[in-house]
Symmetry: C2
Subunit: 580 residues, 2 copies
């Protein structure tokens, strides 16, 4: 921002670049709708008034609001780079996001965060960052990096970094883990926000969590929990993502007394929902139709977020702020007609104005360090059991049970089918092999077990998207097909692969850290539908078998999960044996 | 703050130091009144709940609110050191102030600011600082220091410094003065607030002012002006000081939509009003009796201020914040019964609990660098006029006219009384000599002219409190008595002196920079009444002749003022000749 240049225009000593006239300007500070012209110079708002202007933009009576802000989002969940995310989401009117690059950081550490920042630099959207606070998520898995306080501190002063992201390690806070304390203090020193993540944490424990200066939470699932947290000063990010939708439950907590302490976020939102429903605009429309005052719904998607994070140059149509604005016709159901970034039209009628968008693609190094020859999916019976080979019914084996549309699982103990001293898949009973292969150290650490509920009757699925460490996860009926699927993922540098009858029948490359595509979001969505269709063709009844697969390696959500180190009983927060 | 220690107690693993029970706790986040116990450890609030406690404090049903915050105050205006200010104001329930040491900075520069910080370190009150942005106020006077961006930048990172103070030099902003720009940018870099001061500035000029990221204003005198500024995102500090009282005028601007962008401040409040009316508590009571909801009035005096400045550890009764709290019985007219700082009772029934207060006094160097022998109050006629000595009626002289109870003056042109080619006082017509003597360089630069409206019929008054440069100002009938008064001020190292019949009949030492006393506020107030009485005895009908005198050297408020460099016509923003 060339402050001097903008002041000079604001004071009227030079013409503004553009004057937006005939708009009904939503003033998020006073809640008023003002019929005033807005002057823009050098991408920033100079102020209101009848400025002499190089160019005039006639809004013809449309409402003009500040561009929307998403207070907490993992861009990786949209499976495209920040550059393509920007292109895909801008037509929804989201002009600023606070991105937590937690996924890529688990894969690539600081280099991953730097990749996201460099991609953000090329994007039109105002992409700001909250630094991942919990990499790796647990000690029971191998991730691509460990980020401690010393590692992340230098990045905290980066101009795009405005917060320490969701502190998921709430036991670490409550029990004053030194590295957790150091990370939080480092953020405080530079006066940046520390975001929370404390689902269901209450009472004394939550008091302790708040003492650390953690100031937000996006995990509330009931209005009562939100009220309880707001009473301690916590800002509530009301989430409407693909996996978690909390708006309806939190509506009663949005009151005349609390609303200015609340804002919207998407957390994880998949391309399909972004493309069909929308983004923050969707949340705003849903809030309005749920009875929230339209101006307030917009304030929660703009200035409230800006104030919480101390962002001075976004969140309002006011002097000195980025001229990021949205125009729409119906205040009671805002469908975004036009989106302006730094005063320039970047989306019109729901479509990006493509000439404005960068096409240069930042390089991303491949992260696929495992040896396919070392991969072995055999599940030998334990030695003690081999003598009982004639009585396989005496052996029990833990099986992960997928529950449709949920990220929690159950543990089932079954008697495995054994062939030649090896456990094999039992597709007739919807029990197939599943493995997690570590892709970071080159040592090819891996673990193989059984899963039920995926519904696979044949073939194999493999993916490099497996929260939070994003090792290779594969499930299938047959060892060789599993290997073929893993090979396909490796060859692509990451992504999804579906194998049937020994052949790769569908695949989707996610070459950026094995998480994201360089393709546009609509193209990605199209390809995604194809791999899902191919997975359905293997027998899976799940809406999105890859999404289900992606949560089976996440050892922080109950009950039974699998990492490269083994089966994890999340309630015990420890690994457990395969055989019982 | 020992975060780990407080977390440990908050989590219930160790007893808290104190548990405040049976209070009706005002939750400034949700606006609720909660009947919950408050645990305190190591001076900080752990949280709500029935903690095991070393000590229990029974509030017997009283309301418990966070200690009040004054968003903008010049402690120098209370004429006592920060240490004594703390002692005097704490009984009113003000536990945090954002002090702008503008006056002492004009006298002593960075050393003055450092003195205030070191005195604040010894005070019980939470005294935070906004760095003076405009020292000296103008080029038309000699001050004790020049603070440019380079000088103040290192102090911006001090933990007690949370803002750049009132940017009075709005032309410097609007015309992008490089040093003004550099100061503002330096504050932005460290994410600290930049306070405004722009009385009556509107339209394009105010747009330009806001582009610079200036975020508050405490100079609004009408609700319309406040609304206009809030629409641009400016936070309004509603001022009730001794010289300016704006609450009544701004009441219509305090609405359901705007209140969270507003807060209270005193700016300049003299000991008499503090001792008889109160401080922020007085503003809160006045707001409530004017129709503002009591909780809201308290929120404006606590959390709104904390949020604006990004103060994480004050402004609310919530985990991790200082246990600075006030207790009172009547929510509709809160008279502060008990005040707690970091959990300890520091004031009770309007009186300080003295054992808690430090008695060690930080040293302050004397700033009185002028040569009494070089002081000469004669006003010789200009050479061109001396030939007309027989026609003195043909000579005109500019006289500063004091207007009772106002800081503006008028210019009068009169025919002077001349004796031996020198202009002399004309007490019969309420015209006496006035001089400003520069006290910083040792060169004893000075200027002598005439003033009317002080009402002096005999004797002389001298003072070292003369905004903003605080040179020595003196007025009197007789040159010798003026000299005696100046000598008295010099001998005290600063202060007020009244001379009658050649003798010093009353004096008040202000040895700290010539602005502040080490005495307690009530003692200062008592002494102040005596010097004012002595001044009245010289014939002055003004309520406070020293306050009137103190504004006669302020060359930023119209019309005619005097500095050591001469007479200043403020409307022309330049010096003008004495004779016309």
């Amino acid at each position: 921002m060339n402050m001097e240049k903008i002041i000079t225009a604001a004071a009227g000593r030079e013409p503004v670049d553009a004057l937006f006239i005939n708009g009904r300007v939503i003033d998020v500070f006073t809640g008023e709708i003002l019929e005033k012209s807005v002057g823009v110079k050098d991408g920033y708002i100079c102020g209101f008034g009848d400025y002499e202007a190089v160019k005039t933009i006639d809004l013809e009576g449309m409402y003009l609001a500040p561009g929307f802000m998403d207070a907490h989002v993992h861009i990786e969940s949209a499976m495209v780079t920040p550059l393509q995310f920007s292109r895909g989401v801008l037509p929804c009117g989201t002009t600023t996001v606070i991105a937590d690059p937690h996924e890529i950081a688990n894969v690539m550490g600081i280099a991953g965060i730097e990749y996201m920042i460099s991609s953000a630099d090329k994007a039109l959207m105002n992409i700001l960052f909250a630094l991942p606070s919990c990499v790796p998520a647990t000690h029971m898995e191998t991730s691509g990096a460990t980020l401690n306080a010393e590692t992340i501190a230098p990045l905290l002063t980066h101009e795009r970094v405005i917060a320490l992201a969701e502190m998921m390690n709430y036991p670490g806070v409550i029990f004053t883990d030194p590295d957790v304390m150091a990370k939080i203090k480092a953020a405080h020193v530079v006066r940046k926000a520390v975001d929370g993540h404390a689902p269901g944490v209450r009472g004394f424990d939550f008091n302790a969590y708040v003492v650390a200066g953690i100031a937000s939470d996006h995990e509330c699932t009931t209005a009562e929990e939100a009220m309880e947290k707001m009473r301690l000063g916590i800002h509530i990010m009301v989430r409407e993502g693909t996996c978690a939708k909390n708006l309806e439950a939190l509506l009663p907590a949005i009151t005349d007394h609390t609303w200015h302490q609340m804002m919207w976020c998407t957390d994880d939102r998949h391309p399909e929902e972004i493309l069909t429903q929308g983004h923050v605009d969707y949340i705003i429309r849903k809030a309005i139709t749920s009875g929230i005052d339209p101006i307030r719904a917009i304030q929660m998607g703009t200035i409230n977020c800006a104030r919480y994070f101390g962002i001075r140059d976004a969140g309002a149509i006011a002097p000195g702020r980025r001229a990021d604005m949205v125009a729409f016709n119906d205040l009671n159901y805002p469908v975004i007609e036009q989106v302006f970034i730094k005063g320039a039209l970047v989306a019109n009628g729901g479509k990006p104005v493509s000439s404005n968008h960068s096409t240069s693609i930042p390089d991303a190094p491949e992260v696929m360090f495992f040896d396919l020859n070392a991969v072995d999916f055999s599940i030998p019976l334990p030695l003690v059991s081999k003598s009982h080979v004639d009585q396989p019914h005496e052996i029990g084996i833990r099986v992960i049970e997928v529950i449709p549309d949920q990220v929690i699982t159950r543990e089932r103990i079954v008697t495995p089918i054994v062939q030649d001293g090896q456990v094999v898949s039992d597709p007739a009973n919807d029990i197939v092999k599943m493995a997690v292969i570590e892709r970071y150290t080159g040592k090819t650490g891996m673990f193989t077990g059984l899963v039920t509920g995926l519904g696979l009757t044949r073939g194999a699925l493999a993916s490099s998207v497996a929260h939070d460490s994003h090792n290779i996860i594969v499930a299938g009926v047959d060892d060789q097909e599993m290997r073929t699927a893993v090979q396909a993922v490796k060859t692509m540098g990451g992504g999804f692969a579906v194998v049937r009858d020994g052949e790769v029948v569908a695949s989707l490359p996610l070459p950026v850290a094995g998480l994201m595509s360089h393709e546009p979001m609509d193209r990605l969505d199209h390809d995604m539908r194809q791999v899902i269709e191919a997975a359905h063709d293997l027998g899976s009844p799940l809406a999105d078998p890859f999404m289900a697969l992606g949560f089976l390696a996440l050892p922080v959500i109950p009950k039974l999960k699998m990492t490269d180190k083994g089966l994890v009983d999340v309630e015990k927060f420890d690994t457990v044996s395969l055989f019982v």
